[in-house]
Subunit: 373 residues, 2 copies
């Protein structure tokens, strides 16, 4: 199996949302191939929009090993920072934009894809403007502030014929894919109970503590629990309950709750029980109790360090997989989708589906009733 | 510190529901002392009521190392089985009773304590009759079928002046006590989120699958999650949400749901998220996300095998404690309470408190509303 075939097969498998038995070996060889010298394939030009923590510490360095993607432009409201980052990453200063001249991206043939890493409140507008400028867009999650914005973004992608992908990097990450394969492979039997937690300790000041720029803990970190439940179960929830808590004696939580917990019922009868928050020791994991086994993922939502244990009857096995750089993989995957005109596995509709769950949980918290989805 | 002092101090500490710093070492030495030859203290006579699986495989063998408790009588509806068990355990056949002559226990000075290990539906009646026969009672959990029965049992204890303890063996078990001490010790900060799961795979036929004799998964295994949440948090819940699922295609679940999940909010704002069921791979654990740390208990609810990890900042420590026999400890503890006329840490009111939560969760499932407690 040569490198090209293996990657093509992997992408096809991922596109179908399913890796066949044995595909994990194939995936691993693909992953290893990532560190090989770049293939002759043309690299697509990416514009990075929003030079915050995630862009600087994860995304920009991840281009180094990309085979299909290169940093081609930057968009920032801080010219000094943008120039510095451009210099450090070999981006020609004439491809540095700000939010005033952002729409000029339309006339920059150097840019194929826009990666929207702005605060949640700027996802919809800057994604739609990029699509209308003729660019494909990878947008960070949560996709937007509410369901309506997500729908507008999906409509804009349809209207412009450009691709829109939401940055669910874990769908393209081997440990999470292996967890999904274990869940759906049949040997463990159906999932009965799924639990996920994503907790962080957020220090003020932080834009995530503002309701005007962000979606609070439910959108910001809870979305990982929601997406993991839907991804691992392979079903869409039909009901939600929720509880939240906004302390009166903690200045960080004037606008958003400190924690939100919720339960989701799925058509199979599986129930997911999740918790997320901004005021505790970091914790990110999920567990699935199956009929004849269990799936346990530690550090489930980190940029790396996933640890997967699959329990089948009395056998317990820790997955031995080669870790990858999530951002390198995700960007190259989207470039490949654009090049081969293939719909990504996590299009706008995937972000919309999570946002509908977020809205249902918020309604359940507010009305104190089980909410139908 | 001699053996007697250390045990007395431990019992006093446990009676206050709190082990002071350093008490764990004391506890450990008490535990080790358990395997020493019996002290000169008089052993109380116990009548074991109900010779099912738990009585035969756990309780009867646990008398071997008891220092304050001995098997003095048996109550069973199966004379052959009762005679055999009496023979195997050195119980004089004249102290074997059935459910017809049960009240004659009153005239048996050989019996001080009755241990009610009957099906849930027989807890109230046979506990109240034993109290009225002048015996102290240790009753298995869940305490009864509903709140009203629990209240009647508490009233009977008060009326007769006899002691009633509910068999929350984990309150007397060093790993669980250490988890509670870690939670309340201050170093980890307040608990933000607590999750617990207790899952079993129950094969038919089984009385636990009947609503007339049992309380379904919520009462049978979910009570462990509820009690752990209340014990570790040291608070009483104020609100509950719930979801249950009763499959139509599984013959086991004609009368009880296959699974029940629920969330409980506490006055501190901590939320507990729990799941229990009868149709999955066994799973029993709890986790607490604290402000500055975490508590992780694996095999939390088993008869042994507890594994406790306490995470404080970046430090993670597995508790190194001497395991004990839960039943030996529990019975000797209750004998000590009776002898020294001390209220046990888990009196009838503790079982009643859990039953109120069970009722609130059932109401939340039924009404699809957040229920106040």
């Amino acid at each position: 199996m040569n490198e090209h075939t293996s990657r093509r097969d992997f992408i096809r498998a991922a596109g179908h949302g399913f890796l066949a038995a044995g595909a994990m070996n194939m995936l691993t060889s693909t992953v290893l191939a990532q560190d090989q010298p770049a293939a002759t394939t043309k690299k697509l030009g990416w514009a990075i929009v929003g030079l915050g923590q995630l862009a600087l510490t994860q995304v920009m360095p991840a281009f180094k090993n990309c085979q299909r993607s290169r940093a081609a432009a930057l968009v920032s409201g801080h010219p000094d920072k943008a120039d510095r980052v451009a210099g450090e990453n070999g981006v020609d200063p004439k491809h540095v934009y700000d939010y005033e001249n952002y729409d000029k991206l339309k006339d920059d043939p150097n840019v194929d894809v826009v990666y929207n890493i702005l605060p949640d409140s700027m996802h919809a507008e800057y994604t739609i403007r990029a699509l209308r400028a003729g660019k494909h867009v990878l947008c960070e999650k949560p996709m937007a502030m509410n369901v309506k914005e997500c729908e507008q973004m999906c409509a804009a992608a349809k209207e412009t014929g450009k691709k829109l992908m939401v940055a669910y990097r874990l769908h393209y990450e081997p440990f999470t894919m292996a967890a999904r394969d274990a869940a759906r492979g049949g040997k463990l039997g159906p999932i009965r109970y799924f639990e996920a937690v994503n907790y962080q300790n957020v220090r003020a000041p932080n834009i995530r503590l503002s309701r005007s720029t962000g979606t609070g803990p439910l959108g910001d970190v809870g979305v990982y629990c929601i997406n993991a439940a839907r991804y691992i179960l392979g079903e869409e929830p039909i009901e939600a309950t929720g509880m939240d808590y906004q302390p009166k004696d903690d200045e960080r939580f004037k606008e958003v709750p400190a924690r939100v917990t919720f339960q989701l019922k799925f058509p199979s009868g599986a129930i997911a029980s999740c918790g997320c928050g901004f005021d505790g020791q970091p914790a990110r994991r999920f567990r699935a109790v199956c009929e004849n086994g269990a799936i346990e993922m530690d550090n489930a939502f980190g940029y790396g360090g996933q640890k997967l244990r699959v329990i089948e009857g009395r056998q317990s096995n820790e997955a031995q997989l080669q870790p990858i750089n999530h951002f390198t993989r995700e960007m190259d995957y989207f470039s490949e989708c654009v090049t081969s005109d293939r719909q990504p596995e996590t299009p706008g509709e995937e972000g919309l589906a999570d946002m509908k769950v977020i809205a249902a949980v918020e309604e359940a918290c507010r009305t104190r009733r089980t909410t139908k989805l």
